[in-house]
Subunit: 325 residues, 2 copies
Amino acid sequence: MSDITMIRAAAERLKGHARRTPLLSSPFLDDIAGRKVLVKPECLQHTGSFKYRGGRSALSALDEATRARGVIAFSSGNHAQGVALAAREFGVPAVIIMPADAPRMKIDNTRALGAEVVLYDRAGGESREAIGEKLTNERGLTLIKPYDEPQVIAGQGTCGLEIAEQARAQGVTRADVLTCCGGGGLTAGIALALEAEAPGLRVRPCEPEGFDDTARSLAEGRIVANTQPSGGICDAIVTPQPGQLTFPIMQRLCGPGLTVSEDEALRAMKLAFERLKVVAEPGGAVALAAALFRPDEIAGDAVICTISGGNVDAAMFRRALDISL
Amino acid sequence: MSDITMIRAAAERLKGHARRTPLLSSPFLDDIAGRKVLVKPECLQHTGSFKYRGGRSALSALDEATRARGVIAFSSGNHAQGVALAAREFGVPAVIIMPADAPRMKIDNTRALGAEVVLYDRAGGESREAIGEKLTNERGLTLIKPYDEPQVIAGQGTCGLEIAEQARAQGVTRADVLTCCGGGGLTAGIALALEAEAPGLRVRPCEPEGFDDTARSLAEGRIVANTQPSGGICDAIVTPQPGQLTFPIMQRLCGPGLTVSEDEALRAMKLAFERLKVVAEPGGAVALAAALFRPDEIAGDAVICTISGGNVDAAMFRRALDISL
């Protein structure tokens, strides 16, 4: 089970590898939100999302012989790239099982990072689990799950250690910390880090409307699933339901979830472009959108939010730029 | 005259105010350049460009009574915003004299940061110097020049202190450091900082074709001007000629200048979007363009470059996104 000791150990292993992203702000965003807005742009992390933290944490926690046989992951996007880069850095094989209809750019990027990409037909009869199990048994690969894996949660938690320190340096010790939430790895990791390092900071998961499984699960006190397992433009952070490991952590430590519309996520992307000069993907912008457009659901003089990733293609980014604010 | 002692003092004054921007990289950019590319994204600095460093340095170096009377600057863009924010932080008046045909967004932003914007007709008979002199005399304002001012150069030099430290942490001690160069404040400041802190790093100014006054001045050993005083899409870094204070520093410390086309600057903007997830303005992308597209004019296993600013409107950014790489 992940805890603060594991997060601190992960931070040690990530030193000199994961990037320490800055904590950004803009008086123009403060004006919109009606309070100070501090933004942790994990789009600036290696591979363009926080997922590298968890991938590197998990790989570096394996014993050398196990790691040398290689790793395997199921992912259509950011987790794939995080694991692929970490594996390349260790010089070990990575097999990534991706749906054949995943965005071309994400497949290409994962391959370019040295991973062996195995495509499966999402609509057809092929089970990715069956493909994965076969490869795992044949080659002795270790599965790196995207969020329900203690060392992955610990790796994402290193982002929380940085938030605690950087917020304190800016004089913010009491605030909501809004996270972009899919399976809950980042949210749970940050929540554990803040519990120990900045108990006045409370994590609240943010999701797109229609995929608010975490918000509803927290409200009901049990894991509930989305009616649709995937879809929408915020795909990078959409999962069927909160994880078995992440949910109890979120239930214990997080405040109520927040939801935003896809249009609000696009507007937040444009404001991140204009005011912070960073590139956010739609799913990566939901927490900023909540910080800006849900002022009445947030208390206090300051709010902190993550931008979880920036892996967006030019066509989608144009859609955001075309919005008039 | 600016020197390393002034830069170190400026760094002390900027502590807790200027942002320490990270040093970014991407294996995809390394592949294009054929060497390691380390990028210092000053677009992430307050107000979206390195200019805040110089503005804050200059204002913080004034004695309190002088500062309280207020400051004045001539600028159509980034320097205006840097000075305006610094003045607001000190709670003192700032008057910015801007051409009436400056981009609306830059005028609005400067006003929104609390400055009094005085517009003059660039094409007509009005001399901005006459307007400025009148205001200065009436109100006892202090002029903050954009680059030919020792405390401004010292402020920009703090970016060089960070580069020295961050490059060393990544194992890079011998490399060219490519700077986006207008009047030479950033270039000279970084060169002075590296002379003291990282003597194996050599600064080389980068400019857009047609506005290569610094490259030609360095080649001829004397200050020569551009044939046209302004124009093009890289306007943020176009000045008529190198400064009287900055040129001798650049002449003593810098290697040969590099020039790139506007099209190459736009391509670099798109690659910064795709691979670094940061927003660069055309002028802010010329050094990255040189790092990527002038491999034969650079030596060594690594190259460092600045992205000097990211204050670009959506229409221009769309132009960059539309380029096929």
